[in-house]
């Protein structure tokens, strides 16, 4: 078996491996610590008053069952996996009895939308500008754009989000700084609602984009300046092919290929950035949900979000991996 089917199989295998290891790490983190989440939850709820011991014992039992902590370690492990396979993370403690999966289901589309839009925007724009900068080396506007992009790139997502919050929230309040849409608005697909969505999404997207642009810009610029020295570019120039066509078909197309791999690799960290950005802007995605879950001591929700994050990111990486051969026909499974 050669070519694409083999490649497909390898990628699927990698996907399965990532999920396996990731979820195992989640299991180890939660089960291998001396802290007992059951006792923690009980301590949290019995904080303000006393409850009779039998009630506490009942609570302990039901919590144990809820958290899948009955039986020995192996039983817990099996229960853990079985529940994940069924998509059942149990009910959320802070929003009892709403199941965790429902809560995640409500928040996930927001995060996905934010991620898809900002990642695509950043990747496309960053590569475009970087590619142009690599080809037209003397262009001052591009060089300036480069310096700007690189200035933001090393700064962590939190600080950029925070700075944007300060600028547009306090100094120059022209954009909303919290929520995903204007409160109490009808959630239909009217133009009004969509506009409100866009206005609220602008700052989170901008925040993610500012940090990400620099990376793609620098990468593409250096890739392009290498590709430009390749024989096939020189040959096309000798043949008098128009410059714009060379830039598009010969230079960019080839330089873009490693950037696709780079996209797959950086999805994890972009996701991390999205979580914290959501929190800063109160954007109703999975990130805000996660933070509030931690503050509320909602074990199932935190675990559920972690698991879903791992699966979602790996899936996105798988999609990119599968699309990769479309751009690079030389790919053969290794």
């Amino acid at each position: 078996m050669t070519g694409y089917p083999l490649y497909l199989l390898t990628r699927l295998g990698q996907f399965a491996l990532v999920i396996f290891i990731g979820i195992n790490i989640a299991f180890v983190v939660t089960h291998a610590t001396p802290i007992d989440p059951v006792e923690q939850s009980i301590a949290a709820s019995t904080q303000f008053g006393s409850i009779n011991p039998e009630a506490v014992e009942m609570m302990r039992q039901s919590l144990k069952e809820l958290y899948g902590l009955q039986g020995g370690l192996w039983d817990q492990y099996v229960t853990f996996w079985r529940r994940i396979a069924a998509g059942d993370f149990g009910p959320s403690l802070s929003a009892f009895p709403t199941p965790v999966s429902i809560l995640i289901g409500r928040a996930l589309p927001w995060t996905v939308a934010l991620l898809v839009i900002s990642t695509l925007l950043t990747w496309v724009l960053g590569n475009l500008l970087g590619g142009l900068a690599g080809y037209y080396r003397r262009n001052r506007a591009l060089r300036f754009a480069g310096i700007l992009a690189m200035a933001f790139h090393p700064i962590p997502y939190y600080i950029v989000a925070f700075l944007l919050l300060i600028v547009f929230g306090y100094l120059w309040p022209i954009l909303p700084i919290s929520g995903g849409y204007t409160m109490n608005m009808e959630q239909d697909w009217s133009a009004e609602f969509i506009l409100s969505l866009l206005r609220h999404g602008l700052l989170p997207v901008a925040s993610l984009a500012l940090v990400g642009l620099g990376g793609w810009f620098m990468g593409m610029r250096s890739l392009v300046s290498n590709v430009v020295t390749e024989d096939y570019v020189a040959y096309a120039e000798l043949a008098g092919v128009e410059r714009s066509r060379i830039l598009r078909s010969y230079v960019m197309r080839n330089a873009l290929v490693p950037q696709v791999t780079g996209l797959a690799i950086s999805l994890g960290s972009i996701f991390n950035g999205a979580i914290i950005t959501e929190q800063v802007f109160g954007y109703p995605g999975v990130g805000t949900l996660l933070i509030s879950a931690v503050h509320a001591g909602d074990y199932s929700l935190v675990l559920g979000i972690t698991t879903v994050s791992i699966i979602a990111v790996s899936f996105a990486v798988l999609l990119i991996d599968l699309a990769y051969p479309l751009l690079d026909p030389r790919v053969k499974a290794r």
Binding site: Q40, P154, S225, I276, S309, S314
Partner: protein, 284 residues
């Protein structure tokens, strides 16, 4: 040492990076001269703006921002360096073994490596904090981050090792009877060191960034002053709304200087390694 000075003179990026970091590090060293222990509060009047008496102002908890900041940046830097060193060990080990051994060892290690690159770390760290709550310590956090953060750099080191293994001078060395240790130290190390250096800079940036993010959320030990913890407390005391902007401004300024400084170092080191860009510079 000589190449360090040459680089300093010729490369503006490198020089700027060094200057920025020197400033930050110098500031951190001032912490040893602080008249106040870092955790004492209400030792000075609170909420005072920057003035000749209190250079960076004071916080709502009655601490002098200037001296508090020296501790904060010192702790943050130390944390970042510790994580970077620990993860260097893992990255070097895995990267070099994979690159030199090749074959199925390489494939296996890279599969595992790619797994760690893809897995989103932040939720796991949050989960980690969640189960540990008050038992979270800096050491534990550093260990966890080192355990999760080696993968990107391991890949870079591996590709250097791969190309070195196949280079002609390696084979010449083997044929001329150099011992493995000799080859590794004399021929390969000069190629590996620059990339280790630049990945270390990037890794420090990464770990400090993560520390700031986690601390701001209150997910670390908030009793030790670090940059992130300072911002956390500033937020707790609604510093922005109350107009105590200096409590946020100076920590952010310092940490941004650190990030940009480290970044410049890493970038200039990368350019230094890539011979094509070096040639480009000599032609100008």
């Amino acid at each position: 040492m000589r190449s360090f000075l040459a680089l300093l003179k010729s490369n503006r990026q490198f020089a700027s990076g060094v200057v920025l970091l020197a400033l930050v590090a110098g500031f951190a060293c001032l912490s040893f001269f602080s008249p106040y222990p870092p955790n004492d509060s209400f030792v000075v009047p609170p909420d005072l703006p920057p003035s000749p008496e209190y250079w960076f102002g004071t916080t709502s908890r009655g601490q002098e921002l200037f001296w508090l900041l020296t501790f904060a940046i010192r702790n943050t830097l130390v944390f970042g360096i510790v994580v970077a060193v620990l993860s260097r060990l893992l990255a070097l080990l895995i990267g070099l073994v994979a690159g030199y051994a090749g074959g199925w060892v390489d494939r296996l290690l890279m599969s595992i490596n790619d797994t760690f690159i893809v897995i989103p770390l932040f939720p796991i760290l949050v989960l980690f904090y969640f189960v540990l709550k008050d038992h979270m310590s800096w050491g534990l956090l550093a260990l966890m981050m080192a355990f999760l953060g080696w993968s990107y750099d391991a890949r870079l080191i591996r590709s250097v090792a791969l190309s070195l293994r196949h280079r002609e001078f390696t084979e010449t060395g083997i044929f001329s009877g150099m011992s493995t240790r000799q080859i590794l130290v004399e021929e390969h190390l000069p190629y590996v060191l620059p990339i280790v250096f630049s990945t270390t800079m990037n890794n420090i940036n990464w770990s400090i960034g993560l520390e700031v993010t986690l601390s701001v959320l209150g997910f670390t030990d908030i009793n030790t002053p670090t940059i992130g913890v300072m911002i956390y407390w500033a937020n707790q005391h609604t510093a922005l709304v109350a107009g105590i902007w200096w409590w946020i401004f100076f920590p952010v300024l310092l940490v941004v200087m650190t990030f940009i400084g480290l970044f410049l170092l890493a970038v200039s080191m990368n350019e230094y390694i890539d011979p094509r860009s070096r040639l480009g510079r000599s032609e100008r």
